[in-house]
C-alpha cells in the first residue's frame, strides 16, 4: 500500500519528462534493449534448473563466489584510493602532457585483458621490471596470489572509475574549492570537505562501474594470477573452466554470478544513485 503512495509522485515525474517517444528513437532503443537482454534470457532458458541446487551446494562454487566478491570489492577500494586523486589531478591541474596521460589512463580499456595480464606479469612478475625488486628486497611475489587477483582487477577496472570521476569533476564548479580556500581551508581540506561530497554521486557511479568490471574480470586475472581454487579462482575463471567440459555447470555458475551482481547493484542503486 505504501508502495503505491510512494510511487505516485515518481510516476508523475516520469510522465512530465516525455509523453511522446518518436519512433526513430523508440525502435533502436528497443532493439538495443533486446540485444542486451536476449543473451541473458537465453542463459535463463537453458539453465539446468533441476541440477542447480546441487551445483550451488558445491563448496568450490561458494569459495569462488566469496573470492570474487572480496577481490572485486578490494579492487574497487584500491581504485578509489588512487583513482579519485588521479582523476582530480587530471581534472583540476595543468601540467605538460596531461592529454597524453589521460589517454594512457584509458589504455587498459582498449587493451585486451589477456595482454593486460601479460603486461602485469612483465611489470610485477617474479622476473618483472618492478617485481624482481619486490621479490629480492621484500620477498613479495604477486603472481598466483589473491593480491595478484586484486591487482589485475584494479588494473582493468580503475579506468572506469577515473573517467567517471574526472567527468564529474569537470562538470563540478571549481569555484567551490576557491570559496573553501578563502574560508581558510587548505587545498586538501577543500577537496575532502567540499569537492568530494559534491562529486559523491559521480564517485559512486564510477565505483559501481569499476566493481562490476572487476567482478566479471577474466583475462587479466587468469593470466597474471593464475587459477587456484580458494586463492585465485574467481567466478569468471570457474565459469570458463567449467565450460570446457560441463556447460551446464558453467551456466549455473554464471547464473549465481549474475544474481549476486544484480542484487548488489540494485541495492547500491537505491542507496547511492537515486540521490543524484
Amino acid at each position: 500500500m505504501t508502495d503505491t503512495l510512494e510511487s505516485r509522485p515518481r510516476r508523475d515525474r516520469h510522465r512530465g519528462r516525455s509523453r511522446v517517444v518518436p519512433i526513430p528513437l523508440l525502435a533502436p532503443a528497443l532493439i538495443g534493449l533486446a540485444f542486451l537482454l536476449l543473451p541473458l534470457i537465453a542463459l535463463l532458458v537453458r539453465a539446468p534448473w533441476r541440477s542447480l541446487p546441487e551445483q550451488l551446494t558445491s563448496a568450490e562454487v561458494w569459495e569462488a563466489l566469496r573470492l570474487s566478491l572480496v577481490c572485486a570489492t578490494a579492487a574497487t577500494g584500491l581504485s578509489l584510493v588512487v583513482g579519485v586523486p588521479l582523476a582530480w589531478l587530471l581534472a583540476r591541474t595543468c601540467f605538460p602532457g596531461r592529454g597524453f596521460v589521460r589517454a594512457l589512463v584509458t589504455l587498459p580499456l582498449v587493451l585486451p585483458p589477456v595482454v593486460g595480464g601479460v603486461a602485469l606479469l612483465l611489470a610485477f612478475g617474479r622476473n618483472g621490471v618492478v617485481g624482481q625488486w619486490l621479490d629480492s628486497w621484500f620477498g613479495i611475489t604477486l603472481p598466483f596470489t589473491t593480491t595478484g587477483v586484486i591487482l589485475a582487477e584494479t588494473f582493468v577496472a580503475m579506468p572506469f572509475l577515473v573517467i567517471s570521476v574526472e567527468g564529474t569533476l569537470r562538470a563540478a564548479d571549481p569555484r567551490y574549492e576557491e570559496a573553501a580556500t578563502t574560508l581558510g581551508a587548505s587545498r586538501f581540506t577543500a577537496f575532502r570537505r567540499v569537492t568530494l561530497p559534491l562529486i559523491a554521486p559521480g564517485v559512486a557511479a564510477g565505483a559501481v562501474l569499476a566493481w562490476a568490471r572487476a567482478l566479471g574480470e577474466f583475462g587479466a586475472t587468469i593470466t597474471f594470477a593464475g587459477n587456484f581454487p580458494g586463492r585465485t579462482q574467481t567466478m569468471p575463471l570457474a565459469v570458463y573452466l567449467a565450460l570446457q567440459n560441463d556447460p551446464a555447470a558453467a551456466i549455473a555458475l554464471s547464473l549465481v554470478l549474475l544474481a549476486v551482481s544484480i542484487a548488489v547493484l540494485a541495492a547500491l542503486r537505491d542507496r547511492w544513485m537515486t540521490a543524484s
Partner: protein, 361 residues
C-alpha cells in the same frame, strides 16, 4: 608567488591599519594596475563596466590569483606572498557559492572549523552569526531551500565568521531580483556599516555602489580612472562611462572665462569662470528641444542636432542626439509628441548656462 618580480616597495608613510595595495596583474593582453587604500571601517566600491578588471582585483586581494607586481598590505602586514587560506580575508562571491551539501549552519561554521575552532565552538559561532543575520530559523536548511536574500545573508555570515580584516564582496546583489534587491541592499548597508575592518565591494551598478560604499573607485580597462565620495563622483564625472552611469552629458575642453571650448565641436557657456582644461556636465533634463530655431530663448547654448534615437526612460522620453554636439535630452511624452520627434528629425537643443557645471579636469 615565488616568481613574482618587483613586488614594489610600499610607499613611505603607508597606513599601519587598513588596506594599502597596488595590484598589478598581467593576463595576456590585459593588464590590471590599480592602487587601493582604505582605513578600517571604510567601505570601498570598485565600480566599472564588465571586463574592467574589478573581479580580477578582488581575486588578487583574496589571493586566488597571484600579483604580477605591486604590493598588498593589510594592517601593516604584507599579504602578497601569503596563500589564500592564510589571509584574514573573507569573500562573498557573486552567486554566493554556498556549499550545497552543507546546511546554512555548517556553511557558516566551515570557516571557523578550518581556522582551528572545535566542532561545537564553530557551530556556536555560526549560530550567533546566523542569529545576527536574522536567519536563526534557517540554520538547518540546505542552500537550495533558501531564498536569494537568505542565501546572500548566509554567504555574508560565512565570510564574516572567519573575522576577516578585509571583506570582499563580488557583485553582492547581482543575483537578486529587483524587489529582493531593494530590501537586501538596505540590510547589507546596515551590516557593512557595523563591520569594523575594511570592506571592498565590486559592482557595475552605480546605485549599489553609491548606497553601500563610502568611497568609489572607478576602474576602466584595468586602471583607476576616478575615485572619490559617491556625491563627488556623481557631480563631477571624469569619463563618459561614469557620466552615463550617473546620467549626465559630459564634455572635456579648455575654459577661457565663462566659455569652454570643447576639444571637438562648439563652445559651451558656463556660469563658472575657469581657465585651463575642464569638464563640463549637464543633466539630460536641462536640455530643451525646438523644431525651429528659437528666437526669443535666453539660452546662450544652442546647437543644431538630429534625433538619432528615442527611448522611454521612466515616465519620460530620452532622445539621443547627434550633430553639432552629441547629447542626450529628456522630455515629457507630451512634448515629444508635440515636437513630432522621430529618428532623423532635425532639432535645436538649448541649455541654459546656469544648468551647466564646469570643473577642472
Amino acid at each position: 608567488m615565488t616568481e613574482t618580480t618587483d613586488l614594489g616597495t610600499p610607499p613611505p608613510g603607508h597606513l599601519s591599519e587598513g588596506l594599502d595595495a597596488r595590484l598589478v596583474v598581467d593576463r595576456g593582453a590585459f593588464r590590471l594596475d590599480v592602487t587601493l587604500a582604505a582605513a578600517p571601517g571604510d567601505v570601498v566600491a570598485l565600480l566599472g563596466p564588465n571586463g574592467a578588471g574589478k573581479t580580477t582585483a578582488l581575486r588578487a586581494l583574496s589571493g586566488l590569483i597571484p600579483l604580477t607586481s605591486g604590493h598588498l598590505l593589510l594592517d601593516g602586514t604584507r599579504l602578497d606572498g601569503t596563500a589564500p587560506e592564510s589571509r584574514p580575508v573573507g569573500v562573498v562571491f557573486q552567486d554566493y557559492l554556498l556549499f550545497p551539501h552543507l546546511t546554512a549552519l555548517d556553511n557558516v561554521a566551515f570557516g571557523p572549523r578550518c581556522r582551528g575552532a572545535g566542532k561545537a565552538e564553530a557551530r556556536a559561532q555560526a549560530t550567533e552569526w546566523l542569529d545576527r543575520m536574522g536567519l536563526a530559523d534557517h540554520a538547518g536548511a540546505k542552500p537550495r531551500r533558501l531564498s536569494g536574500g537568505q542565501a546572500q545573508r548566509v554567504a555574508l555570515a560565512r565570510a564574516l565568521a572567519t573575522r576577516p580584516r578585509l571583506l570582499l564582496l563580488d557583485e553582492p546583489l547581482a543575483a537578486l531580483d529587483a524587489r529582493t534587491r531593494l530590501e537586501v541592499r538596505a540590510q547589507l548597508r546596515r551590516h557593512l556599516a557595523e563591520f569594523e575592518a575594511v570592506a571592498v565591494l565590486v559592482t557595475h551598478d552605480p546605485l549599489d555602489a553609491m548606497v553601500l560604499a563610502d568611497r568609489l573607485v572607478v576602474v576602466e580597462d584595468g586602471r583607476v580612472v576616478q575615485e572619490g565620495t559617491p556625491s563627488d563622483i556623481a557631480r563631477h564625472p571624469r569619463t563618459d562611462y561614469i557620466a552615463r552611469l550617473v546620467g549626465l552629458n559630459l564634455y572635456k575642453g579648455r575654459a577661457e572665462g565663462h566659455t569652454v571650448r570643447l576639444d571637438t565641436g562648439p563652445g559651451i557657456t558656463t556660469t563658472e569662470e575657469l581657465s585651463g582644461p575642464v569638464f563640463v556636465a549637464f543633466p539630460p533634463g536641462a536640455v530643451t528641444l525646438y523644431r525651429d530655431r528659437p528666437t526669443g530663448s535666453s539660452a546662450r547654448n544652442l546647437w543644431h542636432c538630429e534625433v538619432a534615437g528615442l527611448e522611454t526612460h521612466g515616465d519620460q522620453i530620452r532622445a539621443d542626439l547627434t550633430g553639432e554636439l552629441p547629447l542626450t535630452a529628456d522630455l515629457t511624452t507630451v512634448a515629444a509628441a508635440e515636437l513630432d520627434l522621430h529618428p532623423g528629425a532635425p532639432v535645436w537643443a538649448a541649455v541654459k548656462a546656469t544648468q551647466t557645471h564646469a570643473y577642472p579636469a
